[in-house]
């Protein structure tokens, strides 16, 4: 026997395994005509409050459930359950993002057959979740005004991959000395195609535009699923 150094071509994307699981999740959602949101933001941007306000506005209009991703606690899932909405908690421990496998495992214990909308609230983080497809229909990034107008420039990958950007806490614009137009322009610079909504969950301003848009998306999705069934 002799030792022979040898080069073997691989040509494989490192995220291949995650992408395969995400594709399987996506198929599962698609078969059921289910619209799935992957909700992402920095910690404290107001994802859960926004979710509460969205549930409040859409309650009774269709069936929805929430999967919560968090490092340690199930506090967010408790907040959603308090509204009478089914919520499942994924506790990631120290992992800074959800991946497709975690969602697939959660789906084993969390029936989705009777739903129109599933919201997956990712771990609060503007870096890591950007790389991991979960099989969602839409990526929704929440950015609060108080984080400053330059947030999209600092985290371009996350904002670039968003389908929808929700600029939240606009009631704090003056107090935070942030120009909303500038923030919106900065989102457009890294993602010219994003759908943008400016809103405040505290005052309710702008919230209806977002929830009406989401309502139509859910309806279009289930109509499309029925047409192809």
């Amino acid at each position: 026997m002799e030792s022979v150094p040898e080069r073997i071509s691989v040509q494989t994307n490192v995220l291949n395994a995650n992408q395969q699981t995400a594709a399987a999740n996506r198929q599962l959602f698609s078969d059921r005509g289910l619209l799935v949101l992957n909700l992402m933001s920095a910690p404290g941007a107001g994802k859960t409050t926004l979710l509460e306000a969205t549930i409040d506005a859409l309650r009774g209009r269709f069936r929805l459930a929430v999967i919560e991703g968090d490092l340690q606690t199930d506090l967010d899932a408790q907040r959603i359950q308090a509204l009478g909405v089914r919520a499942h908690q994924i506790t990631t421990g120290t992992v800074c993002h959800l991946d497709a496998r975690m969602v697939a495992r959660a789906l084993d214990a969390f029936p989705i057959g009777d739903l129109d909308l599933l919201v997956i609230e990712n771990v609060g983080n503007l870096i890591c979740p950007a790389s991991f497809d979960l099989g969602e229909s839409l990526r929704v990034v929440v950015c609060s005004v108080a984080e400053g107008a330059e947030k999209p420039k600092k985290y371009p990958v996350m904002f670039n991959k968003a389908n929808v950007v929700l600029i939240n806490k606009i009631d704090l614009a003056a107090a935070s000395d942030v120009d909303l137009m500038e923030l919106e322009r900065n989102v457009r610079e890294v993602n010219p195609n994003a759908t943008i909504f400016c809103l405040s969950c505290k005052t309710g301003v702008g919230l209806a535009a977002w929830t009406d848009w989401l309502h139509s998306a859910v309806e279009l999705r289930s109509t499309a699923a029925m047409a192809s069934a």
Partner: protein, 134 residues
């Protein structure tokens, strides 16, 4: 620190490929990494050193080729490399830009030590070699 998840995947992919080829150990893993990803090369090297323990990659070197971001305007045909910050609106004509490269996260190849049978001719019966040549 999602680099740990990325490093785990790199080690797994390399391991599967090396075992498929009956390799004894992996010497080099060549990775192409775009600048428009969220992955920090130094953090990835550090994570790789942890994840490779106890695998065929235990002694392997992770060669990272950095692929710069290139954007292209489909309207005015300008191609540029964003230097500071990323703007996906064409400076020339104001249309949205297409990302041509910079999102790579791909294992190109691995270099392995294989155990290969000695050459066939050396195992031939000696009578062939000792036979008179005329």
């Amino acid at each position: 620190m999602h680099e740990i998840s990325i490093a785990e995947s790199i080690v797994q992919i390399a391991e599967a490929k090396a075992r498929e080829q009956n390799a004894r150990s992996i010497q080099v893993i060549k990775l192409r990494l775009g600048t428009f990803t969220t992955i920090v090369p130094d953090a990835l090297q550090f994570a790789f050193e942890i994840c490779r323990e106890g695998t065929l990659s235990q002694e392997a070197r992770l060669d990272i080729e950095i692929v710069p971001m290139v954007v292209h305007c489909v309207v005015c045909e300008a191609s540029t490399q964003p230097e500071k910050g990323v703007c996906l609106i064409c400076a020339e004509c104001g249309f949205p830009l297409k990302i041509v490269s910079g999102e790579e996260l791909q294992i190109e190849y691995i270099e392995v030590d294989s155990e290969r049978e000695e050459q066939i001719w050396s195992q031939c019966p000696s009578e062939f070699q000792s036979r008179p040549m005329f």
